[in-house]
């Protein structure tokens, strides 16, 4: 039973090829999970749809949009941003489970590109969220949401939403590496929900008590939701300074979060060997 050792990559280009191949192998592992657990995958993808229906038809009747407009047209961009937020839970659970079960250590003891553990996770999670976004968009179209701007604006809106997800990805990885095990998921959910609801995703901030409304307006989720409303040509964006600069903020907030949590995650990952 002899196996010839594969050659160690010497050149930077070869190393990069290894890193890309390894990252894709790790990402494919997660994609295979979807196929093997179709029920679970479907539930995760359909959960935002359930929320759209709940808010759109059960609660939304009582919510007035400043400047007028259909509540579901207002709700959907908020739900897109919320779908990105829910991604934190997916990322966290996967990272914490691998770390607790020794899978991360096994990867780290193998002759693979060390970066692949993270890039593979990032690739899979971004694909997952893109798919999730597509599902909510499909649901939105079914309940009467439309984009009224041009294609370039719509593409920018989608890019901003995925940028927000990328920022949440690093928060999820950081928290996952920090946690002692996937059991802490409940704690992360406890964090995610108030953060999500303390925004303009579901309700215009004008209806909230003054300071709370301001806080909600400055929430990164609100920035992306408002930017998406602008770009899709949906109602209820308001005319405050924050609303006027929503697109800039939807770039700045995720950029700031990435600037904080990307280095933290890398540091935390490196610290595994301290």
């Amino acid at each position: 039973m002899t196996v010839i050792l594969p050659p160690v990559p010497r050149t930077p280009a070869a190393r990069l090829r290894w890193a890309a191949a390894d990252g894709w192998t790790i990402a494919r592992r997660t994609l295979t999970h979807w196929g093997r657990r179709p029920g679970e995958t479907a539930v995760a993808l359909l959960f935002p749809v359930l929320m759209v229906l709940m808010f759109g038809y059960l609660l939304g009747g009582g919510i007035l949009i400043p400047g007028g407009g259909n509540y579901r047209e207002f709700l959907l961009p908020g739900m897109f941003a919320m779908t990105m937020l829910f991604g934190i839970e997916t990322t966290f659970a996967a990272v914490a489970t691998d770390a607790a079960r020794g899978v991360t250590d096994r990867f780290r003891s193998m002759p693979m590109a060390p970066s692949a553990v993270v890039t593979g996770r990032a690739t899979a999670d971004m694909l997952h969220s893109a798919l999730g976004l597509a599902v909510v968009i499909g649901c939105g179209l079914a309940v009467g949401w439309r984009w009224r701007g041009d294609v370039a604006d719509a593409a920018l809106a989608l890019a901003l939403l995925l940028l927000l997800r990328l920022a949440f990805l690093w928060i999820g990885i950081y928290l996952g590496l920090l946690a002692r095990g996937p059991e802490s998921l409940a704690a992360v959910q406890l964090l995610v929900w108030p953060v999500g609801f303390l925004s303009n995703a579901f309700v215009p901030t004008g209806t909230m008590p003054g300071w709370l409304g301001t806080l909600a307006e400055w929430n990164p989720i609100s920035a992306t939701a408002t930017a998406a409303r602008h770009l899709f040509g949906n109602p209820g964006t308001g005319d405050s300074w924050v609303a006027e600069h929503a697109v800039a903020l939807a770039v700045a907030w995720p950029a700031l979060l990435i600037a904080i949590f990307f280095p933290l995650s890398v540091r935390r990952y490196r610290r595994l060997s301290r």
């Binding site: 039973m1 050792l5 594969p6 160690v8």
Partner: protein
């Protein structure tokens, strides 16, 4: 004699805890070396340093002739690690797991596939190849774990408490698989808290406690270290135990141990024949009826007690898995 693993005065500290306080270790190529110690002795820390997962604070270590601190990538090409958890993907099937690990070892898709088949066959998992590993028994998962550590047939395999939490039958399965690997020439460093496991598998054992080696040798040498043989006296009536202990004390080199449950008194002795005669005479004088008198080699458990002043963990499978100090 070549050493596949060498450690010299390895030191590692976590905050205020000194996990390793100058560990020396030398593992002969082609053998199974046991690293025996209680929870928190530093076994896992040592393995994590030797497998490049952790950097030592001091000392040096070589695996397969390569320094683990300066050439970690090359070391990773020559080792397999099977950690305390069965680190396989629970959602994927056994085959999918091995194919993934094969690709991560850069075998290429086709060779990863054939390698997976070979390993499934070798570890008797062919029938379960296409079931998700969540449905595997503990022993099967461990065997898959071993297979994943053997993708490249690494010259050195690290097994960190591979049978912790397994039932006796699964443990035997894993032992058989490990014996087969050693027979094929793989060097294995196995950590365990189970003396029986070290006794069964290892050709040499290093006993570690508080982060350093306190004894080293073949299981027989270690047993010889604590003053040769032991004399056991089992009495019919538990009330005779003090008298039996007193009889033993006349020839023993250490205080006799008395176990009322088994009605047995036991002590290390030096001259086995003379000691036996003396004890029989003393029991006779004290009118104690012995059910059994036996001279035997000490168990590793007794060696451990003697060396560390503490008992090692009881029999395998009866204690919950402890956690070692980890990063």
């Amino acid at each position: 004699m070549t050493f596949a693993v060498v450690a010299e005065t390895l030191r590692k500290r976590y905050g205020d805890t000194e996990a390793l306080t100058g560990l020396d270790l030398a593992v002969t190529e082609g053998t199974l070396h046991g690293l025996l110690g209680p929870n928190g002795a530093g076994k896992s820390t040592a393995v994590r340093i030797l497998t490049t997962l952790l950097r030592a604070d001091g000392g040096r270590a070589e695996v397969a002739g390569l320094d683990v601190a300066t050439r970690p990538a090359e070391v990773r090409h020559r080792i397999g690690l099977v950690g305390q958890h069965a680190a396989v993907d629970e959602v994927l099937t056994g085959r999918q797991n091995l194919e993934m690990f094969g690709r991560l070892h850069h075998l290429g898709a086709r060779r990863a596939r054939t390698r997976a088949l070979e390993l499934l066959e070798r570890f008797s998992l062919t029938d379960a190849a296409d079931r998700p590993t969540a449905q595997y028994s503990g022993g099967m998962r461990r065997r898959l774990d071993l297979a994943a550590g053997m993708i490249l047939v690494p010259p050195v395999l690290f097994l960190d408490e591979p049978t912790t939490g397994l039932d006796p039958r699964a443990r035997t399965e894993v032992w058989d698989a490990v014996r087969a690997l050693v027979a094929d020439g793989t060097t294995v460093l196995l950590t365990t808290q189970y003396l029986e496991e070290a006794d069964q598998l290892a050709s040499r054992v290093s006993v570690i406690d508080s982060g350093r080696r306190i004894a080293d040798g073949t299981p027989d040498e270690l047993k010889g270290m604590i003053g040769g043989d032991r004399l056991d006296v089992t009495v019919r009536d538990p009330r005779d135990l003090p008298a039996a202990a007193a009889a033993l004390a006349r020839v023993a080199t250490a205080d006799p141990e008395v176990d009322p449950d088994t009605r047995r008194a036991s002590a290390p002795v030096r001259e086995r024949a003379a000691a036996l005669t003396e004890v029989v005479r003393a029991l006779d004088d004290a009118a104690v009826t012995a059910e059994d008198i036996a001279v035997r080699r000490p168990t590793l458990d007794e060696v451990f007690l003697q060396l560390t002043g503490r008992r090692a963990d009881p029999a395998p499978g009866t204690t919950p898995r402890g956690t070692e100090v980890a990063a």
